[in-house]
Symmetry: C2
Subunit: 254 residues, 2 copies
């Protein structure tokens, strides 16, 4: 295959804690008339991973600290949600009404620590919010191993989320977890077409994979949380989504 | 079609100023066994657009100003390249040895104003550098119109470049020009799965298209500058890549 083929796996049901995501994906692939093959990449929306891992939090169970109360007043947010944002974060980079931008404990800079109240519960999202997986790279590795065990296929996994960006309008898909493919492809030093070494050639491969799948997933992976990508090749070693995180102190744009 | 199909159009030759990019693309499609169809999106690497538009600049023709000389000393860069960076830029956001980050006159925040010396000339890139197109959205619209005229097809165009990002490692494809599709899909207010209005749902569609194509183009669109994407649908009105630029003063991450 010279190109890429992306197929949404339809028929993934609403998931709950403890569901066997691997089995659900294999069922969806079969229902979509698809058979997973070695070398495929499965892009899985963060939300269904988080839900199966029990990362829904009931707001009534959250006791905000004075710091959260204060930041909630400043940003006009629910103090319990702010508490969860703080719990999930390292540094708070920016706070203003309606918006808290943090460095998530996983390293990503994102609004509201990636905590989302949309598509979470049928009661208006007032009662539950969903946190990111505890360790999305590990989640990806587990799902990959489980697909090998249950179906005998060697696929790569990208766990995707949609995030806002500095200086650009619109959210795009990024990889928050990855297994079986490089997060970053490091081509520093590879010759260009004229044999001259390229200077800056680290490519955010897993992020580009997540963005490609996002074209089919729609906002937040609403209706199509799993996309199968076929035809991608890479020469770099396998890595993780953590490879895509630039430490704040090394951020050349800062 | 339920999914997406991406195919690199092989056989695009080295291009020069004045070349008929439309004709070259149609030849490449034919040579790739592909026929462009209504609704396709063509992702075209910035470099071949810039070259056909005569945006190669001979460094010997550039006379650096004192400001450029000073910034060149600070950043250890060629003063003539720095002059071109300044000419192409609004604000200089960051300067340090080896790196100048600017807001390009087109609005994008990028290193070196998107000026690239790789893959430009066979003499080691010392003599020529390549600037971005004067107006990439207009370039995209022209190419789109020309494809309609020469081949009778209604395709969308994305002119792509690869850029570094704040807080993330690795460059990814973004749209610097677009025609025939939305740059940004604005789904603000659309209901989520439970009928509750989504709050933040502007999606950077054309950027995600560029990232998807970048998976096949490789660094800087070296060998495969044109990728045909089929199967994408959108409900938002057509826009431009300029829609993706967030004014610095509105940048919530700043």
């Amino acid at each position: 295959m010279r190109g890429l083929d992306l197929l949404p796996l339809d028929g993934i049901p609403m998931v709950a804690e403890g569901d066997d995501l691997c089995a659900l994906i294999l069922d969806a692939a079969a229902a979509s008339g698809d058979t997973l093959a070695d070398g495929d990449v499965l892009v899985v929306a963060q939300k269904i991973v988080s839900k199966t891992e029990g990362r829904l939090v009931r707001l009534a169970d959250v006791e905000p600290t004075p710091r959260a109360e204060s930041l909630a007043a400043e940003t006009e947010k629910d103090p319990r949600v702010v508490q969860l944002i703080l719990d999930e974060s390292g540094e708070v980079l920016r706070a203003r009404p309606g918006l808290i931008i943090v460095q998530h404990r996983l390293g990503m800079v994102m609004a509201n620590a990636g905590i989302d109240a949309s598509n979470i519960s049928a009661d208006g999202g007032k009662e539950f919010v969903l946190l990111l997986p505890l360790d999305p790279d590990a989640s990806a590795a587990r799902l990959r191993a489980e697909l090998r065990r249950q179906a005998g296929v060697d696929v790569a996994i990208v766990i995707s989320d949609s995030v806002g960006r500095a200086w650009r309008v619109g959210i795009v898909g990024i990889a928050i977890g990855a297994a079986g493919l490089p997060g970053v492809v490091d081509e520093r030093g590879a010759p260009d077409l004229f044999g001259r070494p390229l200077l800056v050639t680290q490519t955010g491969l897993a992020d580009e994979v997540a963005s490609a799948a996002s074209l089919l997933q729609g906002q937040g992976g609403q209706g199509r949380p799993v996309v199968r990508l076929r035809g991608l090749s890479w020469s770099a070693p396998e890595g993780t989504a953590a490879d895509l995180v630039r430490p704040l102190e090394h951020d050349m744009f800062r």
